[in-house]
Structure formats: C-alpha cells, structure tokens
Amino acid sequence: MFDIEKIRKDFSILERKIWDDKLLVYLDNAATTQKPKVVINALVEYYENYNANIHRGVHKLAEEATSAYENVRAKVKSFLSCDEASEVIFTRNTTESINLLAYSLGESLNDGDEVLLTEMEHHSNIIPWYLLRGRKKINIKFIPITDQYELDYEKLEKLIVKGTKIISITHKSNVLGTVNDIKKIAKLAKDNGSILIVDAAQSAPHMKINFTDLGCDFLSFSSHKMCGPTGVGVLVGKKELLEKMPPFLGGGEMIRKVTFEDFTLNDVPWKFEAGTPNIADVIAFGVAIEYIQKIGLENIHKHEIELTKYALDKLSKFTFLKIYGSSDASKRAGIITFSNPVVHPHDIATIIDQDGVAIRAGHHCAQPLMKRLGVSATARASFYFYNTEEEIDIFVSVLQKAFDYFEVGACKELKGESKERVSK
C-alpha cells in the first residue's frame, strides 16, 4: 500500500506545535485539507520563474504561464475521465460553480419549473437555488433522508415530475458521510429530461470519480479540499450543454469581439472564465491532482475506511455519544459527526483544541440537515490519507478529557437524550 510516514513528511504543517508544545492532530479535512510541499513549491516556482498574465501575451513568460494553466484542464480531464479538456471550467470554489449553473441554467427555466435538492445539502447547493427562486417563480423541493441517513430513493422517484428541470445533489454528505447513488439518479433524471448536477466537494478528494460513467450533466468540487490551494474550483459539464448556455460573468477572455454595440462569445471553456484567472493556484492545483493520483484514489479511500472503522470502534465506548450516519464504516468513509446533550460541540472543540486536536463544531453549513437531525450543532472529525490510528488514539483520549470536564457519563439522567439541553 502506501507509506504513511513518508507521505506525512510531505506536509510540514503536521509537525506544527499548537500552544507551544502540542503536536497538531488535524481532523478537519472536510473543511479544508493540508497541502503537500510539491503544491506549495509549484506556487513558488510559478511566481519566481514564469509569472505572467495568460492568453493574450506573445512573450516567453506569457507563453509558459498559458501552457501551464491550460495543461491543468487535461489533468482534470484525466482525473475525472470526462470527454474533453474543454469541458473543464475553473471557478473559485464549488460554491461559485453551483452559482454559475443557477444563473446560467436558471435563465432557461420557466414559472412553475422545479428544482429538486436533498435534505442533506450544503448551503452552497441550497442558497443559489433560493436566489434563483427570487428571480423566477420556480419551486424547490427536498428529497428526504431515511432514519438510516440515506436518501429515500422511493420518495425520490415520486418527487421527479414533469416540471423537474434540475436535480442538484451532493455526491457525499459533508455531515453524514453518506455517498449517494448518482448513477441510479442519473438514469431517472435522463428518463425525465432533467439536468443532473452533482456537488462532488466531498467525494472528488476521496474516491475515484468517472464523470462519464456517473452519467450526470455537471459536477463540481474545490481544490482546497484535495491538497490544492484555496481559490480554485472546478465545474465540469457536458460540452453540448455548456455550448448552449448563456455566459455568467462578462469581461476579458470570455469574448471574441466587442464593439460599441455588442459582443460575440468566445468558445467553451473560456466563455465562462472572465478576467484574469487565478493562474498560480490553478497551476498548483494541477500538481495537487498529480500528487493525489500518485498516492491513488483507491488507496486513499481504503485508508480512510480503515481509519473510520478504527475510530468508530474506539468511540463506541462513549455510550452517551450520538453518532450520525451509517454504522458501516465503508458507507461513511472519512467523516464522523457526533453530539452529546450535556457538552455542546463548541465546548468539545475548544477543550480538545487545547491538546492540539482540530475538529469542527457547528452546523457545517447544513442547517436544514441539522434541523432534520433535531440538533442545532454537531461536532465533526474528518480524515484524510495522512491521518493515522495514533492520531485517532489522541483524539479519543482528549475527548475523554472533555467529557470528564463536563461530567458527561456522570449525569446519568441525560444519557441518550438527543435533544439539546437548552432548546425548547
């Protein structure tokens, strides 16, 4: 398999001491991942050697920068197995990718048309559609989840109706870890003539994705969640759709010709990239993709499942802990979300941060899902390929400290209660 000690050496931050002497245990990878040296070096390399604005330059630096930038499309193509490099559009993040779609596809929706989401969506796949509903009289519906934290596929089938123009669904929940059956939904969408959009922010970094095989029309994810720099997102779409869509942002690059009267559009993908792109970060993102591919998505996935299994097992001793998501580690790889009625997630996070353990606490930008789960906040530990069982041991032992602090386990009367203590 892979040599984790060697891999960890690629991440200097993993040697960071928090509070002077606590070694960082970084378990907040669903929020953003750390970056290996090669990626950081790619930025330095770019800025020290061939920084230039792209596309419009004749000189050597511009030529080098342009070709390095454009080559990343081919890397994304190979990463996702989509048909053409020109189907790859660079955005700022998953959020912008979905907004681009809501604006551009939104133009062709009519009053009464429906957009179908799920109860487990991240705000980034909810608000763009709420904003669209502010511009057009469309309906938005949510596919419910079952008590096993999976999409209710029976209800899903019934929710797809004639007016369902767009179905936009997360590939993997950032709270539950649940991986949705996109292939199955793609068939239903296709039969119904609906466009299927997949939010792959949490899946692309962790499992092999084959865009063509999944059968969706659009897919997006963020560089920063997969070892790449902040400021880069990807939107991949079927070429024939991208070609028909109106542009989103206007400016340099995305046009062919401009007069005092009008303009003509450039080809896909440039039609959707206005202004000077985030050149350096896109180039470094290309290096991140290669880095991940070298480790191997299958290896990453397997390692995360093993870690999750190990962690679930260790956590089972905290019987007063409510854990959300499947108890089968292979179905929730990498994400463990939990809560307890006595000690609030924020307090847990603060307490274990004292020992250098970084997890996330809050609503994880999924407030509707929190509501569905009957809590206002949860704590989340999320793993990546550089995490180890030793780190999970540390995590579990400092969690114990937090529970001791709040005398959890001692307060028998509260055990197992799932409502927040102070809520009404």
Binding site: D20, K22, H344, H346, Q354, Q367, A377, V422
Partner: protein, 159 residues
Amino acid sequence: MIQMKEKTQSQALPHLDELYKEIILEHYRKPCGREPLDKVDYHAEGMNPLCGDEVRLSLCMKDKKIDKVHIEGHGCSISVASGSILADMLRGKTIDEAKRVSRYLKDLMHDKSNKEKIDIGDLEALEGVKKFPVRIKCALLPWTTFEEALVGHEHVEIS
C-alpha cells in the same frame, strides 16, 4: 512574516479553567430566565451565523424597570451561561442601567478599559473568555440580542 510566525507559534496555552469557571458551569447547568412571560415589551432573536447558536430574548417592563427576562435558544456553555447571567442581572434595572452593563461586558471582551463603576456580579466570570477569541462571540450573543431588542423591536407585543 517573522512577526506572524512568532504570533502564531508562541502563544501561551490559556487554561481551560479560566474559560469554564465554576460559576459559568453552574449557570450552564441551571440557567436563569427560563420561565415564560405573560407580557412582552421588548423581543429579539439573535443568531451567530458562523456556528448556528440562537437566542430568543424577551423583556417585560414594570415601572420603567426590567421586571422579567425570558431567554431561550441553542448554544454552547458560554452563550447559555452568558444569557443566564443576563437574565439574572438585568432584573430590576432601568434600560439605561442595563445598557451600561452590556457596554461593560463588550469592553471587557475587547480588552478596552471601562472606567464606569458598576456592580458586575457574575459577569466577572466571563473575563476568561477573552483568552479564547473565537468564543467571544458566544459570550456576547445574548447581549447584542438584548441591544437589538431595544432598538429594533420596541414594545413589540407577542401573544
């Protein structure tokens, strides 16, 4: 750069006991201000968008003084305790007196000196929060909600 390096790397570990003083934990375990009011003169709902903490606060006035405070919501120990201290402290105060307490806490959190002499009661226990910058918002949430109730929703009657 050097500056940042130093800043990020040699901050001393603040002790948890400074955050979770016994008074705080007591307020968290048995918060004040849970009893519903018959009459509501001021009301506001506060929210920390970054973590989802919520506070719904109502005041009932009598003879130009705050007669009763009702507070409920979701939140961490700090925000719940802070809300409980608020409910406890504001009872019997005029609006102006109450505002002064609120201002005092804000200054305390942002490390500004406040020369005003007021009876700070259990508020003192919140001083340790300022060593945990991300938690300051938790401590202030009930108080900013209180201030919003005063400006935004004067004498709102809810049934």
